[in-house]
Symmetry: C2
Subunit: 386 residues, 2 copies
Amino acid sequence: MPTRRVFLTAAAGVPLAAKAMTRAELPTPALLLDLDAFNANVERMAGFLKKQGRAFRPHAKTHKCPEIARRLIEAGAVGACAAKISEAEALAGGGVTGLLLTSAMVGRWRIERAVRLARRHPETIFSVDDAANARDLNDAAGAARLKLNLAIDLLVGNRTGIEPGERAAELARLIVKLPNLKLAGLQSYSGNSSHVIGFEERRRFSRAAMARAVETRQRIEKSGIACPLVTGGSTGTYNIDSEIDGITEIQPGSFMFMDLDYNRIGGAGGPVYRDFQNALTVLTTVISKPAKDNAIVDGGFKAFSTDKPFPPEAKGLTGVSYAWAGDEHGKLTAAGGGPVPVELGDRVEFIVPHCDPTVNLYDFIQVMKGDAVVAVWPITARGRSQ
Amino acid sequence: MPTRRVFLTAAAGVPLAAKAMTRAELPTPALLLDLDAFNANVERMAGFLKKQGRAFRPHAKTHKCPEIARRLIEAGAVGACAAKISEAEALAGGGVTGLLLTSAMVGRWRIERAVRLARRHPETIFSVDDAANARDLNDAAGAARLKLNLAIDLLVGNRTGIEPGERAAELARLIVKLPNLKLAGLQSYSGNSSHVIGFEERRRFSRAAMARAVETRQRIEKSGIACPLVTGGSTGTYNIDSEIDGITEIQPGSFMFMDLDYNRIGGAGGPVYRDFQNALTVLTTVISKPAKDNAIVDGGFKAFSTDKPFPPEAKGLTGVSYAWAGDEHGKLTAAGGGPVPVELGDRVEFIVPHCDPTVNLYDFIQVMKGDAVVAVWPITARGRSQ
């Protein structure tokens, strides 16, 4: 596995992390990736979907890192999903092809940037769930003398999209009539399926949601319109949705890193979801021991995302709990209120509650082989939420 | 008020925000600062503390922006507090002087960087709460042939620090004995005081906490050791702690931006804290209207910090509630379940639950005068949590 090392200096306005070559030397808090676990996760997902005969377009909103997107393509992915146009631009700038934008391009500035991206990367697919927006995209594409590939975003979850069935079919008919648009297919993501606890329950939930996408595809094709793509699925449903006839492509993200939230949903084999390994951690340092019964580490709200109702879990420190102690700090306590088995300067590593928004807090991923930092990957699309 | 405009391009790897000159043109989500409200907040705090005869060293962990730190110094601040060494480096690199590090410098890499900063900025004050760490700092300072100014971090809140009283006095005696250290005074931040609901209750709580700092200062000075500095206080206690004899300096942060959390603590004049104006907002766009009773905006976990138990509040849209809908999206609903009064493409602006970690999600602050973007300030220390 080739690795690259990016040398960074304080003078260039970036952290000195790259100078530290081992876990013990890294400035903290730091975002760590266990390379072997990451590679195993990627191989497992890519291999599984290949066997299932489904395309694999992993979601880059999880990693925001062109290096990772390129590695996923090397492993068999057809491209990368991106949540936002600015994220897609960062990926394209890093040599990533086969982009699929999973949110609608609403707003003049966003349409202009979509057209600019399509000029350089004509294979890019954009999502749409509204007729007026489709007309705006058609006009902008016409002015730029190009054609835009569109996927109709279906409301099969609890977020964005047009009602599946006749309303979606009507939008498909409009798209094929407009001269500067091409219908790529259906974007069919059901976010609320992904986190249903229990494999069987999750399967029932996701099959019901995705059935509406498959039915919509049939309805569109019956009217003589080609609808080659139906993309959906997630880390929670990759082995559910890829069993459904008519779903052509799976777009999981978290599987490569994993987090406590996905561990909790339960797997096909038991109550803890263990299909993929926890490859992502945050490394902290104990910077204060105000009393015997607690210790303060240097990571708080700015080191971990806080959108889940549970805190980070210390790796290899059983019986020790983390609680947020503000923007910059976390407090460790021991079960039963006894002494916490850490000393000032000790390093404590945490599995994160939710990987995507945690990655979005860091500029770099420290890539680890055992205790050695073997590469530093820039999270180029960090903060690109536009 | 002079403003500067930074021109940015997609090619340079940064958002195109600076090309947009009005609120209607800004790519979203965007972090907005109302310049008039910000200036009024700064003048009010600086003026109040000047009248109280206390030094003003606002905390830069809130804004992470050298431009803002410089403006605060122009308004009368003696410098800036920084939570972490990497944050302090970014401020120093932006011409900010009078830095006070409010967390301990634990770890070899951190001590090395502290010494490097002290070489360029000998006035910098570092916090310490442990004798062994003080000895390490002394050794590193000696090797670099310089002296480090230390403030003893007191445990007057619920986070870091050494027990006030005799244990702290003992550390003071050690510091003055070590040849390469100088005692600047006491760092006395009580984070749990700041958020006590109700002004009178908060005053009682903060006075009890700060009394321990004042007593510790007296104890140290009785033994013949000068202890000129006692710094503490916050946006919640600036008008409480600045009334206490022996507190020399106040280090508030949130006052310049304000957020929903501070609005909720109650002020001296009533149940809503209105000493400072809500100057900071996040601008979003409605990108999907999946049904009449809800609308989806393009800001979620990556656009707002989620560490408070309440969501962002839409500005000027009464009866409309925001709920997080994942990493990239938020869902608007109307009270009573009726139609939401927004259309696709509409812009919705939000007051944020918690300003500091929200600012830490953005690379730039869009500085507004009415609807015009009059400047773009880089949040240079964003992500500098090390």
